[in-house]
């Protein structure tokens, strides 16, 4: 139960700087997810919080105390690793009780806490097994049990679900959420999977090349991405992002294709400005198949040709060429559609995003 705060945090390996002075405040009991592509510095940041990596600059505070030079054991944290990191020679019970044994806790206290964690995680029947006799999901559960038993102020998760198969991942995701509701600790969760971040976190931190691109609630980062990187990273299938040039109330794409300049951006751009136009597949739909009814919105309809379709049952992704590139649109309540067929597409421009092509920052108010 402690806030975590990073200020001007820097990590350098020799002359290479991988984390460039990031600032982040995690509130007490908050669940925060660090997401980003591999190599963006999210795991390094987490390992610095854990004390497994030295800090090259800046400051880390846990519960108000500067922990820069404290060893991991003095930081009152627990960590769950991607590869579980269980002690292979210990049973499940020994693994979970190890930290208490080291801390010199009474044997009966240890047993009680282990039993309680085992009950929470459904591990009671496995307490005498060794890690090599467990499945991946069970191992991850033990790793989580080991973290809970310590009753730490901060939980750190380093891509804990990446080694599990898709089905188990969904299941464990729910369990982590339940667990957080129950133990009420501060959580810093690293993942490269935006769905995990969106479903679990109170706030999401999107990192790229050692910088923080945006910090916000799942709704904020989805609806109001601060940069075109965030726009492309959050959301599946990803947002259609295309370079365009502002030209007399219009956006000019390649091959003479144009779209009207969305109303909300009219005063925010100048003629000849290079921008990145973004539109989510949900806001580009075959007419009559969208989420929104067209009236209150700024809908621009256009006749295109279907190049391919990806039917998913409840919806179909329809790909169509525009301005020399393929755009993806989402058709809800799908009707049968074949490649080569003409389709009338609705571009809901009121939902469009516009980013400066130079800085990548959103041009929204």
């Amino acid at each position: 139960m402690a806030p975590v705060s990073l200020s001007k945090l820097v990590k350098r390996y020799g002359s290479v700087e991988v984390v460039h002075g990031i600032d982040l405040d995690v509130a007490d009991r908050e669940f925060i997810a660090l997401v980003g592509p591999s190599g963006c510095g999210k795991s390094t940041t987490l390992r610095m919080i854990a004390g497994l990596e030295d800090i090259s600059g800046g400051e880390i505070r846990i519960g108000g105390t500067v922990v820069n030079d404290l060893p991991p054991r003095a930081r009152n944290i627990s960590m769950v690793f991607q590869s579980y990191a269980l002690y292979p020679h210990m049973t499940v019970a020994e693994n979970m009780g190890f930290s208490l044994k080291i801390a010199g806790k009474d044997k009966s206290v240890t047993e009680e806490r282990v039993a309680e964690a085992a009950r929470t995680l459904g591990l009671e029947a496995l307490l005498d097994r060794r890690p090599s006799q467990l499945s991946g999901g069970q191992r991850q559960r033990v790793a989580m049990g080991r973290a809970i038993v310590r009753d730490p102020e901060v939980f750190l998760f380093d891509e804990p679900l990446s080694n599990l198969d898709a089905k188990l991942r969904t299941q464990m995701r729910t369990e982590i959420k339940k667990l957080h509701a129950k133990v009420q600790s501060t959580v810093v969760y690293v993942t490269h999977d935006q769905v995990e971040a969106m479903t679990l976190a109170d706030r999401i931190v999107i990192m790229r090349d050692g910088h923080i691109e945006q910090v916000g609630t799942p709704e904020e980062v989805f609806q109001r991405p601060a940069t075109h990187f965030v726009a492309g990273f959050i959301g599946s299938p990803p947002m259609n992002l295309r370079e365009a040039v502002v030209d007399d109330g219009k956006l000019a794409f390649g091959e003479d294709a144009t779209l009207p300049l969305p109303a909300q951006f009219r005063d925010r751009v100048t003629a000849g400005q290079k921008v990145v136009f973004g539109l989510r597949p949900d806001d580009l739909y075959p007419s009559g198949h969208g989420i929104h009814s067209g009236e209150a919105h700024e809908v621009h309809e256009m006749e295109r040709t279907v190049s391919i379709t990806e039917p998913l049952g409840n919806e179909t992704l329809v790909f169509a060429g525009f301005g020399g590139t393929e755009w993806v649109s989402r058709m809800l309540n799908p009707r049968p559609m074949k490649a080569g067929e003409p389709v009338k597409l609705s571009f809901d421009l009121s939902q469009a995003h516009l980013f400066d092509a130079e800085t990548g920052r959103s041009l929204r108010v």
């Binding site: 854990a50 004390g51 497994l52 060893p71 991991p72 054991r73 944290i77 627990s78 960590m79 690793f81 590869s83 579980y84 990191a85 269980l86 002690y87 292979p88 020679h89 190890f98 930290s99 080291i102 801390a103 060794r130 890690p131 090599s132 006799q133 080991r146 310590r150």
Partner: protein, 317 residues
Amino acid sequence: MAGRPDGGTTRSREAKSGFLKPWKLPAPFLLLLPTFIVLAAVVVIPLLLSLYSSFTPFRLTRPDTIWTFIGLRNYERLFTDWDFWVAFGRTVLLLTFALNLEMILGLGLAMLVEKATRGQRILRTIMMFPMMFSPVLVGFQFKFMFNDNVGLINNALQSLGLTDRAIPWLIDGTLAFIAILVAEIWSSTAVFAIFILAGLMAMPREPLEAARVDGCTPWQTFRYVTWPFVMPFAFIAMTIRSLDIARAYDIVKIMTDGGPAKRTEILWTLIARTGYSDARMGLANAMAYFAIFLSILFTVIFFRKLAQARSQIGAEW
């Protein structure tokens, strides 16, 4: 064959199952036969012969004594032979000291080398240098170093002012034992170091980090996480080295030849002396068979420990 009448095939089959059959061995047996013959010639027959000779008063100087069967009398003599038991005990003592010290030193070396971020390959190669020398040469080298008059060690001790007399390294029984131990350790600590280093390098990093987060001090991390993982590797080295020391001969032969006055006699120097110098090959063979039991015993113990340690870390090898 295709054109032959039925009668012809039947007849040839009869011929096969008749008197020709004993000469036609089955193919698998035939193919393995050369191996059997070679093995019998170089291993089985000499082994049986030596076993048989341990039941005879066979002397190399009187070859016909091999035909005199005396039953277990050689073995009976062994059990009452004080010299034999002293040598036996000294061998076990050497084994115990050498194995333990080599393991501690090897462990330390391996952990230091593993920490090295640069030049680890070179360090590993250097570490193995002592193993590249013939034990006989190692014996000569240490014999010179421990020599009480011209030896390096006494010279060094005297120049440093630590002593003003010539310490009789290879003459005093205990000191000679220490000298032999030092030579043995110098030449073979690398076996432990290499195996333990292999274990350290194969060890996954995450449990170590988990231990740090779990609150372990560096010592506790070693004690509860690193050591259990490295243990099977140490047991492999122990097995190899216990066999090595149980048959130790060369270094001792060169350094002290079991002397002076049998003060450093170990099993194999005694066996060699009994067999060749005293020419009592029958008795020597009886001793040798007994010595082999020692080796087998250690091998069994360590293999059992190894299996136990392996299943503990859930090793998949």
